[in-house]
């Protein structure tokens, strides 16, 4: 392993390189660009043997990746925000065809108003597209996701595309020290992609066909089962990863001091670090506070979440997302999981960071205070006096 000082985008590019994608198709969009710039350089200097396709749009980026995956090639693309929405037609196409493409999405606000900074409305709006969705907290986890995502996506029980999300700028453009595994170990972790789900000269197939009412449902049911299967394969991948690289991950979610917590803040992405720090500070003052970081939104950690928070007195969900006219979508998912398990705990939604608005120490202290003392069902962080 080599240690390097890298931005999240650069670290992710290093992870992609280790996964040896055979086809990379991408269109530039801030703050994703650095990933594809680095990959282009790797292809140019020969350190990565891959077909780099300069497509003319994100729709073509994913359509091209689907074509490559449909002949059994390992494919990669990356996008963000407007780009993700522009390729949106191809998202359920890739998952419906069971093409295990990996895509990095740099989480960014969506227009209007135009804004290049980080929130998670872009990816969360595509939660129902049939993709696995993971959210990294730091550059190292981003790199490790790049490698692990292929293992999980390509597993025959899953065969489903995988979207890894990195918070725009906060992760994509912030530098950290990152461990880069050797290619030798990466190859040991990730075998070449083998599949029967491909067009083949020796054994011609018709793929991506129509299926009427009689047959369509069963394909959709199997797609759902594949995403549920991913839970088991995520565990398998992380065990294998820990055995080979010595870095451990905790599955669909990560808990922090939740065992005896009265008040738990559930969140995702890069903000989790600050939440843990505030939880520590509050513990020093005698409050029993903890944090759950959702690492995956699909498959959703239904059982794991209930286990983590079932003894708490109240929970909050902090997310950089809103489903206009309702509430934060992560909050909806969390409540559904609690309700299914008949776990009735007061829960509050904290929507913050839209369009990249800073979430401060004080904001999170205030959130814990509101979780303890009661709040509105949906609360907006940092817009006092916004009128």
């Amino acid at each position: 392993m080599a240690k390097k000082f890298l931005s999240g985008d650069e670290a992710f590019a290093e992870g992609v390189k280790l996964a040896r994608p055979q086809v990379i198709s991408a269109y530039p969009i801030t703050p994703q660009t650095i990933v594809v710039e680095r990959l282009s350089e790797m292809v140019e200097n020969g350190s990565l043997k891959s077909e780099f396709i300069h497509v003319e749009s994100e729709h073509s980026a994913l359509s091209c990746a689907i074509g490559a995956s449909a002949v059994g090639a390992r494919a990669f693309t990356a996008t963000s925000s407007q780009g993700l929405l522009y390729m949106a037609e191809c998202l359920p196409y890739a998952s419906g065809g069971r093409f295990p493409i990996v895509m990095m999405n740099a989480n960014r606000s969506t227009a209007l108003p135009w804004n290049i900074y980080g929130d998670q409305r872009d990816s969360i709006s595509q939660l129902d597209s049939g993709w696995i969705q993971a959210y990294a907290e730091n550059a190292q986890e981003g790199l490790d996701f790049a490698l692990m995502s292929y293992y999980i996506a390509e597993h025959k029980d899953v065969s489903t595309p995988f979207m890894v999300n990195l918070d725009g700028f906060v992760l994509t453009h912030t530098y950290e020290t990152v461990d880069i595994p050797t290619q030798e170990l990466a190859d040991k972790f990730l075998p070449p992609y083998e599949t029967d789900n491909r067009l083949d000269i020796e054994n011609p197939k018709n793929m991506a066909f129509s299926a009427g009412p009689e047959h369509n449902f069963i394909f959709k049911y199997k797609e759902h089962q594949a995403l549920l299967n991913a839970k088991k394969i995520i565990t398998e991948a992380e065990k294998r990863f820990a055995d080979i690289f010595g870095r451990k991950y905790t599955g669909l979610l990560e808990t922090y001091r939740t065992e005896d917590s009265d008040y738990i803040l559930i969140t995702l992405g890069s903000i989790a670090g600050l939440c843990r720090e505030i939880a520590d500070n509050l513990r020093a003052k005698g409050k029993k506070t903890g944090v759950v970081r959702l690492r995956y939104l699909r498959p959703f950690p239904t059982e794991e979440l209930v286990t983590a928070v079932k003894n708490a007195k109240a929970v909050g969900v902090l997310e950089k997302d809103i489903s206009f006219g309702n509430e934060g979508t992560v909050f909806t998912n969390v409540n559904s999981a609690l309700f299914q398990a008949k776990t009735v705990i007061p829960s509050y939604n904290f929507i913050g960071g839209l369009g990249g608005k800073n979430i401060s120490h004080e904001d999170i202290e205030n959130i814990f205070d509101l979780i303890e003392n009661g709040a509105e069902r949906v609360n907006f962080i940092g817009i006092e006096g916004g009128d």
Partner: protein
Amino acid sequence: MTAKDLSKDEFFYGHKACAGCGGSLAVRNALKVIGKNAFAVLPAGCMSAVGFNFPQLCFANNAIISTFAGTASMLTGIEAGLRAKGATDFTAVGFAGDGGTADIGIQALSGAIDRNDNILYICYDNEAYMNTGIQKSGLTPFGAKTTTTPSGKNIHGNIRPKKNMFEIVSAHDIAYSATASIGYMEDFLNKVKKACEIRGTKYIHVIAPCPTGWGIPVSNTVEIAREIVDCGLWYLAEYENGEFTLNHDPKEFTGVVEYLKKQSRFRHLTDDDIQIIIQSRDAKWEKIRRDWRR
């Protein structure tokens, strides 16, 4: 290549295309020329709607439906993926209709030509969105009645001429492009054969009448596809090495009026409308004969 040389192998059968379908004839015969190593991409449209209904799948070669806009980009991915996996003996070929090519798919097609990806793109042009019930596309000709360009007292069908896809594509300085008609089948198939032997992006635009949308008897598809060339409203040409070549230069055109009046989509046209069509034809041919090799 002549009709006698055409392979007896069939690659596209058991589909549910309408009687007299020109598009299915183009696809069927082109695949006989390309052969079993064709990787065919078909976007949403007539040929994918009639050929890919699980469990009745109608291609003997590898074939896949792309998104409507994604014929060219999926071809690119297939070509790159196969090459990355070490395959050499294959042809990535797209069969897209006029709407899939000239409207929603033009951006991806332009991108593929710009990159000079080694793909063959065949546009089967039936001059409207026939699969969805005869709506106007960018390749619907002037005056044609469709369900979205009705003919009435105020407007006589489509008010704009066909987009000139052949020259738009050629303006990219594409490796090879050609026009064709299923009414001149040998010419079309020889162009397919030639395209298969050229590296880079190839585009063939083949007129493929739709009896349902054009309002002609189902037995007249090939005849009308011949007549559109003979009356000068279509032409057989190629673009290669930076030059246009006219392949077929009729000494005398057959009647435009006769061609139009055989089709119910044109039956409402007035003498003035028809004069516009004839003048536009003559202006085009003047340029062709002046500028193109013959």
